[in-house]
């Protein structure tokens, strides 16, 4: 165990993040008090990037876990492994973070089974401990440890929701798509495309977001806009790049596709 090097989880280069409001200050304050933080917002609006940026800024290692339906508590906490010489305990990502003082980021936490999410409870209140019942150890969290979860409230299923007892352990920050100018500057910065084209891409994004709820479950995310810009940078014609990166991924509805295709032709001549 002593050979484990937490430094590998440190982020060396600054991940680009464009602040939209005072979220950086808010997060810093939450981190100073080691409050657990919940990030809410639609897909592809920059939640994960924000966490990376903050980890870099605070110079703390970041351990990210993408949650899924099959994840069990021991996938988070750790388990005994059998090998030819007997058994060996292997810390899970949550235990690692708690032991070594990292920021643990549970991405899309509603995807995990509800019994799984309960294991984070003792870490997220005044106790700040993690009991490893199989190993018979009580890990007291490192002073630098912080838990961050992200969650997309747009799922619209009453089954996929966090328990109140889980929700009420976090300070929450709401994210949304940035304003048009900011989003254009983000697309510019991320893909290195010129600002006029970036502005036009954002315009298409706005069109799709207006259609949300009318056959579209989610609008076009900033991430997809960056993809489209990247394709354009590689020499693809803007109209084709937009169709490929923006329209085809998000819808199978012929009417919506046609409307968005028209929007693309109206924006890019």
């Amino acid at each position: 165990m002593s050979t484990f090097d937490i430094a590998q989880y440190k982020i060396s280069a600054e991940p680009f993040y464009q602040a939209l409001g005072n979220e950086v200050a808010l997060y810093e304050a939450a981190y100073a008090a080691r409050l657990p933080v919940m990030l809410k917002g639609p897909t592809g609006c920059g939640k994960s990037r924000f966490v990376e940026h903050m980890a870099w800024k605070l110079n703390k290692p970041l351990i990210t876990v993408a949650c899924n339906e099959d994840m069990t508590a021991s996938d988070l906490v750790g388990r005994y492994l059998l090998d030819a010489n007997g058994t060996r305990w292997l810390d899970g990502p949550l235990t690692l973070a708690a032991r070594h003082g990292a920021i643990c980021y549970l991405d899309e936490v509603v995807e995990a089974r509800q019994d799984t999410t309960v294991v984070i409870h003792p870490l997220t209140d005044h106790r700040r401990t993690l009991p490893l019942d199989k190993k018979g150890e009580l890990v007291a969290a490192h002073a630098d440890f912080q838990l961050v979860i992200s969650y997309n409230p747009g799922y619209q299923s009453l089954m996929k929701d966090l328990k109140q007892s889980t929700k009420q352990r976090f300070a929450a920050m709401e994210f949304d798509y940035p304003s048009a100018e900011l989003e254009a500057s983000i697309v510019c910065r991320e893909s290195g495309i010129d600002s006029v084209t970036a502005g036009r891409l954002v315009q298409i994004g706005v069109v799709a977001r207006n259609l949300k709820g009318h056959g579209l479950d989610e609008g076009i995310s900033t991430r997809l806009l960056v993809y489209a810009a990247t394709l354009i940078n590689r020499g693809i014609a803007p109209n084709d790049a937009c169709r490929m990166a923006l329209v085809r991924p998000i819808t199978d509805d012929a009417d919506i596709r046609d409307t968005l295709d028209h929007a693309i032709d109206a924006v890019f001549i």
Binding site: T72, M159, V207, N210, H214, G215, D255, H262, A266, V267
Partner: protein, 753 residues
């Protein structure tokens, strides 16, 4: 010529008198062989002994047809006429021959023309009355009427459309010759409706959803569309316009094919013509401020309109540059022409101006046009041009370019119609007598329903939220609960049978969702039993010295669903409407959807209640019990569903509270209240539209506090303005309402998966 003349042996005086002219005409159009065939044909028709009419029609029409389609067609027509003469329908021969020129002009190819002849023959056969299956004894009454209408019909329909139209007429009235005749004379409503359906081009009804999305997506606005027909109004062509109700636009647009080479290459699809129109109208809605019309002469007004149209387009194109190409294609490009005396060129001049403002590559040399285009663009670039500043440009342009001939009665109209632009009626305000007077609506007393048919249960009183005062009106609404009247349960079974394919599809999903009681959870480190497959695999791994998987146990868990669902149906009067493009009313579609949902939920075994509501002022909100939670999905429930009816208004808050009241008493982990509605909350005693919306929003919030998840399914495509206010993110707008029966159960399952 003498030679040819000798061949036509014919004693009809009128034929002889026109023959020379016709022959001369034919010789201009046709080759020598063609002329021979033409004269021979006339001879044959002459010898049929059906009078002079057929011969005259043949002589007049045939050269044009043959010139268009090739000379072989002459023999074909003669042969067909001969066949027709042998049936009892010889009086159809003149109209048949007269229809040929129009048919040739529209069909343009010999192959299609032959199909047209076949169609005429079939129409004749199928509309002739039959006795004992023998049909050669009676004349077809419809055929002459049909043939007279062919030129008009082919102007509207493709040959395929014409075939469908004919087919409908034949099949629709097999035993009713009078109405059939009315159909073929284009007099019956059916006939016009089918014609409308079969028109070539892009029908508005087929694309309304796309256009809705276009407005919503690109312009962030909504509008009601009112289609008008171009087909029957020959005198004055209606033009699109915008008024307080919505956008009025043609019911169909053909694809636009550029007629003159200066318009650029490529046509415009019908749907894009609609979009061009909507873009123009939306630009007006966004940027035009109304002006007082009384200060300007009519000429000044149209000139100001040209500049204002160009201004809003300029602004729109700054946002969506692709619109320039679309508009440039649709905008006429009149050439600079020599002016004749006594003709007013004012429209021509203004259209050139408009073109010059739209299209930088206009190429006009008229000094005033260049001057004003420069001024216009300079002004636009400054960024503070508004509707008022267009007055200056418009008034000066029209006075500086004024010619004496401008007020002539004869106006030059060629290439001056810009058909994607509306008539700007909202741009002008007219000051009229009486504008200062204020009319106040007289307050109307809320009248409770006096004649209640049956002895009622005492009402349940519910509060209502007043958002202006920020408090509840206590015991404000009286809610009466009734048992829903019953109808015929077999009707619902029929509906379910109709959707049996869909039901099978749902059944598959249900089987996957259905609680299986015991479910095996594999790959567990700790569990109640050893999972042998995994254990053996792990042991092999272990023995062979590699890392074994420790998750060798399995356990069982009870996979029970514990959801109580209440479905609240809005039974207000608007439910009886038949939405555009549908054949069934919303009520019927809702009935189908609810039946399917009821069946599906019954299969899942969740406790499920159905209630309907409507209201007639706050003194009488009716909550109609259709199904209770423990009531089985049986004939009684189906009978009540079958009797579903629409009436009165939508006071949603009280109904929500009442349904929530029952739901909160259910034992379940999750409680779901589904609301199926087609409009915003409204009642006749509530003047402020916001009031009932705010009340419903409060009701939803109260339910939320009780742990009830409320979800709205809205059938109103323009629901966005209020539904999010009430339900937050928990709503779905179904704008493709015909798919409601499919969507409702799917939504339910997605919500509870």
């Amino acid at each position: 010529m003498q030679d040819a003349h000798r061949k036509l042996v014919c004693n009809f005086v009128r034929v002889q008198s026109v023959f020379d002219d016709c022959l001369a005409h034919a010789q201009m159009k046709l080759s020598d062989a063609g002329v021979d065939a033409y004269v021979d044909g006339a001879q044959v028709i002459c010898k049929m002994g059906r009078g002079e009419e057929p011969v005259l029609a043949f002589l007049e029409e045939m050269p044009l047809v043959a010139a268009q389609l090739g000379e072989n067609v002459i023999a074909e027509v003669v042969e067909f006429t001969r066949k027709l003469a042998r049936t009892p329908n010889s009086k159809s021969i003149p109209p048949f021959l007269q229809s040929l020129a129009a048919a040739a002009r529209h069909l343009e190819s010999h192959r299609l023309f032959s199909e047209y002849l076949q169609l005429v023959w079939q129409t004749m056969e199928r509309t002739s009355p039959k006795v004992h299956g023998i049909d050669s004894m009676y004349t077809s009454e419809c055929l002459p009427d049909f043939l007279k209408n062919v030129p008009f019909l082919l102007g509207q329909l493709s040959l395929g459309g014409l075939k469908n139209w004919v087919d409908y007429g034949i099949k629709g009235y097999p035993n009713d010759p009078e109405r059939q005749r009315g159909y073929f004379m284009l007099q019956s409503a059916d006939s016009r409706a089918v014609l409308q359906r079969e028109r070539h081009g892009t029908l508005l009804t087929d694309h309304e959803r796309k256009l809705d999305m276009y407005l919503r997506g690109m312009w962030g606005s909504e509008a009601v569309f009112f289609p008008y027909s171009l087909a029957f109004d020959q005198l004055r062509k209606p033009s699109p316009y915008l008024d307080d109700n919505g956008i009025h636009l043609p019911d169909v647009y053909d694809d636009f094919l550029p007629s003159s080479p200066c318009v650029g290459k490529g046509g415009v699809r019908g749907i894009d013509r609609y979009r061009a129109l909507l873009a123009h109208v939306s630009a007006h809605r966004r940027w035009t401020k109304p002006l007082m019309a009384d200060n300007f002469s009519p000429f000044q007004r149209i000139s100001i309109e040209v500049f204002e149209d160009s201004r809003v387009e300029w602004l729109a194109m700054r946002e969506y540059p692709g619109l320039r190409k679309l508009w440039c294609t649709l905008h006429p490009a009149p050439a600079e022409i020599e002016h004749e005396d006594g003709v007013s060129y004012i429209r021509h001049r203004l259209t050139m101006m408009s073109r010059a403002l739209l299209d930088p590559g206009h190429g006009y040399t008229h000094p005033l046009i260049i001057k004003y285009a420069g001024q216009f663009h300079a002004l636009m670039e400054t960024g503070n041009a508004d509707t008022k500043s267009m007055i200056d440009l418009g008034v000066h342009f029209i006075s500086e370019s004024r010619l004496r001939s401008d007020s002539s009665a004869k106006v030059y109209f060629d290439q001056t119609e810009i058909d994607y632009r509306d008539d700007n009626r909202l741009m002008w305000r007219f000051f009229e007598d009486g504008d200062e007077e204020v009319y106040e609506a007289r307050p109307r007393k809320a009248q409770p329903d006096e004649q209640s048919e049956e002895a009622k249960m005492p009402p349940r009183l519910y509060p209502e939220w007043d958002y202006m005062a920020q408090h509840y009106h206590p015991d404000w609404v009286s809610l009466y609960e009734h048992l829903h009247p019953s109808g015929n349960a077999a009707y619902i079974d029929q509906l379910l049978a109709k959707h049996s394919a869909l039901a099978k599809k749902l059944k598959r999903i249900i089987d996957m969702l259905k609680p299986q009681q015991k479910v095996r959870v594999r790959y567990q480190e700790e569990g109640s039993e050893l999972d042998l497959d995994v254990a053996i695999r792990s042991l092999i791994d272990f023995k062979s010295g590699t890392q074994p998987d420790p998750r060798i146990n399995m356990s069982h868990k009870n996979d029970g669903r514990s959801i109580a669902v209440s479905l609240l149906l809005d039974l207000s009067a608007s439910l009886a409407d038949i939405p555009a493009g549908c054949t069934q009313s919303k009520l019927e579609l809702s009935q189908e959807a609810v039946s399917l949902l009821g069946w599906a939920v019954d299969q899942m075994g969740d406790p499920f209640a159905i209630g309907g509501f409507h209201s007639d002022t706050r003194h009488e909100v009716r909550y109609l019990h259709i199904k209770g939670y423990k009531e089985p999905w049986g004939d009684e429930v189906k009978a009540r569903l079958a009797a579903m009816d629409a009436g009165f208004s939508t006071r949603m808050g009280a109904a929500l509270r009442h349904a929530g009241h029952y739901l909160s008493h259910q034992q379940a982990d999750k409680k779901l209240l589904l609301v199926l509605t087609d409009g915003e909350p409204a009642d006749i005693d509530s003047r402020d539209p916001q009031h009932l919306i705010e009340d419903s929003r409060m009701a939803v919030r109260e339910l939320d506090q009780q742990g009830i998840y409320t979800y709205c399914i809205n059938l109103d495509p323009r629901a966005d303005s209020y539904v999010a206010d009430i339900f937050g993110k928990r709503y779905a707008v179904i704008d493709n309402i015909q798919r409601l029966p499919e969507r409702l159960p799917q939504l339910f399952m997605a919500l509870t998966r």
